[in-house]
């Protein structure tokens, strides 16, 4: 692989990794507050279809992203009511969210006389910075050639990392995720913190979905996330609930996803089905290998993850 091809590979990896960055950093915020939301895939799909519908209808991409984020947050709100308010099983509630989101997005995307899948976007998100920067050798395409949502994901990751480690609110969120009873005793409203972080995670998943339709594919196709939301949850585990590590892991997975297509371009004699399975095989292998190490998920996971908190029950 020559330099040009390598740069192109990196650029593709960042493109494919960006929805993973949004979704996994958002999920980190949710999980750090002690709520496990497995519904990322569903929130992404609903975010993707809503964003596309709004962008196609209004012609404004940013309105689409906003709508996508709101749709993701709305779905996360359901999970919040169930898992925080009603102390429901968070795993099954998350799975329900995926089923609902997948059905809802297909319904909204395929229904009507003029289905969304056949309507075209004026122009998807494009390069944000001027060519003068983007055309610089090496650093240009890797750092300056992206669209707004890629830079947004960098800002979001940095903000999430600083928020969790450097701010009082972030500390409170972590306290709620580690020991809600102690946090409660310290005067933190546990459930409010959890609702806020669940909604934030949902909004981020909605933006991840918006990125799929408004930037990466530029169109709506049924079920276009194809498991990205689940891989994002795996990334949360790999990254040990740290935003910056999640960013790197997301690009690694983006690279591996696009690796398949690159192999195909290089005439590596692997059938398409094998290449398509590659990201899932790698996620599975990484999950098993990493869970068996000393830095096991149980050592780094928020201690109260997926456990409802109820003061009266104490």
């Amino acid at each position: 692989m020559n330099d040009g091809a390598f740069i192109e590979f990196l650029v593709i990896a960042i493109g494919a990794g960006t929805p993973l960055v949004w979704a996994s950093v958002g999920e980190i915020l949710t999980e750090r507050s002690g709520i496990l939301n497995l519904g990322v895939e569903g929130m992404m799909l609903v975010g993707a279809v809503t964003a596309y519908w709004v962008a196609v209808t209004t012609g404004t991409l940013m309105l689409g992203v906003l709508a996508g984020a709101l749709a993701g947050a709305a779905l996360a709100g359901i999970h919040g009511v169930l898992s925080i308010g009603l102390r429901a099983n968070q795993i099954v509630s998350g799975i329900a969210l995926v089923i609902l989101g997948s059905g809802l997005s297909t319904y909204l995307g395929s229904g009507g006389d003029d289905p969304l899948s056949s309507r075209a976007l004026d122009a998807p998100f494009g390069q944000l910075l001027p060519d003068a920067l983007a055309d610089l050798p090496l650093v240009g395409p890797v750092f300056f050639g992206h669209d707004l949502l890629v830079y947004g994901s960098w800002a979001f990751t940095a903000a999430a990392a600083l928020y969790l480690s450097r701010t009082r609110a972030g500390l409170e969120a972590r306290a709620v995720g580690e020991d809600p009873a102690a946090a409660d005793a310290a005067g933190i409203t546990v459930n409010r913190v959890r609702y806020v972080h669940t909604l934030l995670g949902g909004a981020a998943a909605g933006v991840a979905g918006s990125y799929l339709t408004l930037a990466l594919f530029g169109s709506w196709q049924d079920n276009l996330s194809a498991g990205t939301g689940w891989i994002a949850i795996a990334i949360v585990i790999f990254s040990a609930w740290r935003p910056l590590r999640a960013l790197l892991a997301a690009y690694l997975f983006g690279a591996l996803t696009s690796f398949g297509f690159n192999l195909q371009l290089l005439d590596v004699p692997l059938p398409l089905s094998v290449l398509a399975a590659l990201p899932y095989v790698i996620t599975l292998a990484a999950l098993i290998v990493l869970s068996n190490t000393r830095a096991s998920r149980r050592l780094s996971a928020p201690a109260a993850l997926a456990r409802p908190y109820w003061r009266e029950s104490r």
Binding site: V81, I84, A96, S102, A234, S273, A277, Y280, W310
Partner: protein, 373 residues
């Protein structure tokens, strides 16, 4: 959602909650019915908002799934694999093993079952059917093996590992049908990749309209599971281990063995569902037709949850969900996108998950004069 979240706030003691000991069967059933009704209500809201007529849609839904003997027969055909994947989810969830791998295990089971049937060809039906069904279970077990061992020995999160294998199973079908000229591929027409037609000797005897005796087999599995869980030592060990891992350890129950055993049993049931589907519904390895709509594996989770993980309750609930699945394509006739059926399943599952609260807790108001809502 019309749920009063004030009950969740620890700061306002407007409600007193107390744990309900064991909910009665009547209450469980009432809450299951209420979950479905609430899901249908929210589904109707969605239909209204998107400019459809909910009554017409629901009428078509009932018509398509239960309106005629033919429709009932087709619903029974759908019920068979749903009972099996419902049992697969129920047995695992009882043990708090949150597998969502039934979809992949179903496909793996279908692959092996179809392979066995194709290899054996037109011979004695008894031999072909029993060996291919056995093969289906083996396929499901093989597909569950990696997540089971990883969960037991490396504590690998089973939710994601099983899900990844669902995607890998779909790719495996593509590999066998599209990318290679395998045993499973139709060799007579290579220009259009499709699965080879299975021999007729693998067909189960017919029972009622389009339904075959597979439904009896599935019901038998449900009964066997109920007996197994209630009457055998290992089954009761499972109940203990599911309720409290700590108690299980003191009782000398090997947690690892239990995890592997339950996940493989779950895989075998899902694999059997795949065998029934491929031999008696799709007649060839075809990934889209094998698991229509949401996917029979995922729908099994809805079935198990609505049945409150009770093997016997899985049977009627599977019939209900099958009716829903079966009606999907028919909704097209009244101009409603069939995906609304998937939406309804998601809503049902959400309502069931939320309804669990009312089974576990009793809500009381501490003050008589509380104006409430």
């Amino acid at each position: 959602m019309a749920v009063d979240t004030r009950a969740a706030s620890p700061r306002r003691r407007r409600f007193l909650l107390e744990e309900r000991p064991a909910p009665s069967v009547a209450l469980s059933a009432a809450i299951a019915v209420a979950s479905v009704v609430a899901a249908l209500f929210f589904g109707a809201v969605l239909l209204l908002v998107t400019g459809e007529d909910p009554l017409a849609a629901y009428e078509a839904l009932i018509d398509e799934s239960l309106g005629s003997p033919v429709a009932v027969g087709l619903t029974l055909v759908q019920t068979t694999p749903l009972i099996l994947t419902g049992l697969a989810a129920a047995v695992a969830y009882r043990m708090r093993l949150w597998t969502i791998g039934a979809e992949g295990q179903l496909i793996a089971g279908a692959i092996v079952a179809a392979g066995v049937a194709l290899k054996l060809g037109e011979t004695s039906s008894v031999v072909v059917i029993s060996l291919s069904f056995l093969g289906g279970m083996v396929g499901g077990i093989l597909w569950a093996l990696i997540p089971a061992l990883a969960r037991a020995y490396a504590r690998t999160d089973e939710v994601i590992s099983t899900l990844m294998l669902n995607f890998i199973a779909l790719s495996l079908v593509d590999y066998l049908i599209v990318d290679t000229v395998s045993l499973w591929r139709d060799h007579t027409n290579l220009s259009q990749p499709s699965g080879a037609l299975l021999p007729e000797s693998v067909l189960l005897p017919s029972l009622f309209e389009d339904a075959n005796v597979g439904i009896l087999l599935a019901v038998l599995c449900a009964v066997a599971m109920a007996v197994f869980l209630r009457k055998t030592v290992w089954g009761r060990d499972l109940a203990v281990a599911g309720d409290s891992p700590k108690a299980a350890r003191y009782a000398g129950i090997d947690a690892r063995r239990t995890i592997v055993g339950v996940m493989l049993l779950s895989g075998a049931l899902a694999g059997l569902a795949g065998a029934v589907q491929v031999t008696n519904v799709t007649f060839a390895l075809d990934k889209a037709a094998l698991s229509p709509g949401l996917g029979i594996g995922y729908a099994g989770i809805v079935v198990a949850a609505l049945a409150r993980l009770d093997p016997l309750a899985v049977v009627p609930v599977a019939f209900l969900v099958a009716a829903l699945l079966n009606a999907g394509p028919g909704l097209d006739l009244v101009g409603v996108a069939p995906a609304v059926v998937v939406v309804l399943q998601g809503l049902i599952l959400l309502m069931v998950v939320g309804g669990q609260f009312f089974l576990s807790y009793r809500i009381r108001r501490p003050l008589a004069g509380d104006e409430g809502r």
